[in-house]
Symmetry: D3
Subunit: 161 residues, 6 copies
C-alpha cells in the first residue's frame, strides 16, 4: 500500500517511534492547586466532609489514573511505572496537590505525573462538591522532569507555592 | 455482620445512594485554559505541531474520558451520557477548552464535563510538549450545571475569559 | 465562551445528541467470515489447535468486546446490552461468524454486533495463527438492524454465505 | 446464516437475555473473611502497616471493582449501580468484609456485591503481604439478595460471624 | 512544595518504589475452592449447566483478570505476564481452582495469581448461580511464590486438598 | 493440587509461555478495505460526513485499540508498543486501511496491527453509517511480520491493492 497517495497525510496525528531509544530512569513531578475557599478548607481540616476522607480517595485515584495514562492520552506509550506518589497540603483556602512518577522507560513520565495530579484534583472536587460548586483547579503543570537525553528540567518560577 | 463494631466508621469514604432518586435531564459545562505561550500558539495556528492535529486528538480524548469518568473518580456513578462535546478557541498565547455533557440520569454530570475538559487539556499538553514543557492549565472549573433538584447553577464571574 | 470563534469548527468530530430520543428495543446482527484454508479448518474440526478450544475463547471475547464497544469506538454511546450472542459455523476452508446484540436503548446496536463479530474473528486468528498467518477476515458487515425510527433494515444480497 | 449447522452448539456459553424483563430495585449483600493471624491483626489495629491505611484502599478498590463487574465476569450485564458500600470489622486474627450493592436493574446485583467483597479482600492481602504471605480468604459468599421475581433470599446459617 | 507540612502524612497509602530493583523470574501459584454442593457438582459433571461450559469461561476470565490486576488492586505495579494458567478439579461437592502466573519483573506475581483464581471462582459462581445461591468460596490463598530476594516460599499445610 | 485429575484437560485454552524467550524487535503490518460505495466515498472526499473528520477519529481509535489488544484478545500478552501508525487511502468506492505496529518484545505484534486496522475500520463504519448501512469490511489480514525466530514473513499475493 506504500504506493497509495495518502489523502490524510496533512496534519495527521502520529505517535513518536521509540523503537531505537534505550530505556533510562525517568522521573517527573507535577503539581496543581484546587482553590476551594475558606469554608470548604475548614470542613476538610475538621474532617466534616460528606463523602469521607478526601485525601485517601484522591491519592488512590491519582495513583490508579497514572497507571492508566496510556488509555487516556491517545498518543502516550504504555509505561511500566516503578512508583507513583500523590501528596496534599491544605492551606487556608486551597489544597496543593503534588504528584511524582518514576519509571525505567524509553520515554518520559510527564504525562503520568500530570494525570495523577489532575485526577487527584478531580476526585477532591467530587468529594467536596456538595459543599460548593465554585472550586477551581489552578496552575496544573510540570515542576520537574529527569532522565532521557534532555536531562534535568525544572520550572523556573515557583508556581506551586 | 450488623452487630460488629466498625473500626473504620470514622471518616470512611462513602458513595451517595441514588436509589430513591428519579432520573432527570442533566447538563453541565466545564472549562479550562491551557496557557501555552505565544510561540506554541503560533505553531498551533500554523499547523506546525510535531504530533499532528492537536484539536481532533484532544477532542476525541476528552469525549472518551467523559464516558470513563466513573472508572477514574472512585465514588462517581456510571452514567449513560447522551452527548459530550469539546470545543477549543485559540488566543495569542493560550487555548480555551470548553466541554459540555448531557445525560438523563439520577445524578449530575459535572464530573463528566470536568473530566472531558481536563483530559482534553492533558492531551493538548502531550501533543505540544516537544515545543516547551512550561505550559500550565489554569482555571479548570464548572461553568454551568442544570437538572436535578438544585436546578440551574452558573458560575458568577467569567473565569473562562 | 460562546462568543469565541471556534478555530476548529470545520470538520470537527461530533457525537450525536440522543437526549431527546426515547429508548426502544434494538437488535442488530452482524457477520464475518474468516478464510483459514483447508488445513487449518481440518485442525479445528479435529480439535488439534495449539491454544485449545477456539470457539469458546472467540465467543467469550466477542461478548466481552460488545460490552466495551463504547470504549473502542470514540463516538459510540454507552449502551446497556440485554443480550449478546456469537455463533460459528465451520466449512471446508472457512469459519463463519454471526453476532447478535440486543438493547433497550436510544440508539442502535449495530456497532455492538459488529464489534462482537470482529473481536471473535480476531480471537480465532490469534488462536490459530501458529498454524498459518495467511488467514483473512472477509465480508464483515451488518445483516439486520431493528428498532428506532428507521425500523427493520436487512442487507439485500446474502454476503454471509 | 440460520441454516448453518452450529458445530459449537453443545455446551457453548450463553448470556441470559434480559430484554423482556422490567427493571426492579435490586440489592445484594456479600461477605468474606480474611484470616490474617494475630500478629498482622495487631499491626492493623495499631496502624503499623507498611503501605498505609488498609481499610480506605480496600474499600475504594472494592467499590471501583463493583462498577467493573461486567468487565471481569464474562456473561454479566452492564448494571448502573445506585450504591456500593464496603465495610470491615477487625477481630483478633481476622478481618471481616461486608459489601452491599444496589441498582434499579433487570437482573440481580449478586455478582457486584461479591466482586466488591473479593477485590476488597485481595487489596487487604496486597497491603499486608509484606507482613506474611499465609493469609487466607474464607467464606466468600452471598448473604442476602432482594428484588426481581424471586424476592428476598437469605443465607441460612450465619457464615459471617 | 517540599516545605509544606503534609497534613495527610499519617497512615497515607503508598506504593512500593521498585526503581532500584532488577527484574528476576517470578512465579506464583494460588488456589481456592468453590463449595457448590452435590447437586450442582453433578450438574457440572453432566454438562447440564444453564450458561454452558463453566470451565472455559472461568479459565478465560481468570486469565484476563490476571492481566488487569494492576487496574483492580490500587498499589500493584503493571506487570507484563509471561504466562497465566487456570485449572480446575471437580470433586463430589466442590470445585478446586488453581492459578499460576509467571513474569520477568521487579516485583512478585502473587496478586496476579490470586486475582486469576478469584475471578475464575466468581465466574463459576455466576455460571452456576441459577442452580443455587448458597455456594461459598473457601480457602483462597497463595500456595507458592518464587523469585526475587526472598526466594521460594511454600504454604506449609495443604489448604488446597 | 498437582495430584488431582484435571477434568477439563481436553481442549482447554492455554496461553503460550514466553518466559524463556528473549525480547527482539518486532514489527507487523496489517491491512483491510472498507467498501463504502461511490456515494459515501464522495462524501468523504468532499468532507461532507455527518460526524466530522472520519480519518482522524479512525486513526486515533485504531492506535488506542492497539494498545489495548491484550484486553480484547484473551490469550494475548501485554506488549509495550514502541509505535503504532494507521493510514488510509481513499479510492472511488472504498477506503484502504493500513496499520503498522512495533515493539521490543518476546512475542509478535500481529494481533496489535490487526486490532488497529480493525478498530479503525469499525470507527469509519460508525462515522459513516448514517449515510448507508451496507458497508462491508473486506480483506482484513496480515501483510508483513518481522522479528523473533521466524524472521520476516510476507503475504504472497497483494490483497491490499
Amino acid at each position: 500500500m506504500s504506493e497509495l497517495t495518502h489523502l490524510d497525510e496533512q496534519g495527521r496525528t502520529r505517535m513518536v517511534d521509540v523503537g531505537e531509544k534505550a530505556p533510562t530512569h525517568r522521573r517527573a513531578v507535577a503539581a496543581a492547586t484546587l482553590v476551594v475557599g475558606e469554608a470548604i478548607a475548614r470542613a476538610v481540616r475538621e474532617g466534616k466532609t460528606p463523602k469521607g476522607n478526601v485525601f485517601e480517595a484522591a491519592r488512590l485515584a491519582g495513583i490508579a489514573a497514572a497507571k492508566r495514562t496510556w488509555e487516556l492520552i491517545p498518543l502516550c506509550h504504555q509505561l511500566p511505572l516503578d512508583w507513583v506518589q500523590v501528596d496534599f497540603a491544605l492551606e487556608a483556602d486551597r489544597i496543593h496537590i503534588r504528584a511524582e512518577a518514576k519509571a525505567f522507560a524509553k520515554t518520559g513520565v510527564e504525562m503520568e505525573a500530570l494525570t495523577a495530579a489532575t485526577v487527584a484534583g478531580l476526585t477532591l472536587y467530587d468529594m467536596l462538591k456538595a459543599l460548593g460548586k465554585g472550586m477551581v483547579l489552578e496552575n496544573l503543570g510540570l515542576l520537574e522532569k529527569e532522565g532521557g537525553k534532555s536531562g534535568l528540567w525544572r520550572r523556573e518560577e515557583s508556581h506551586a507555592g
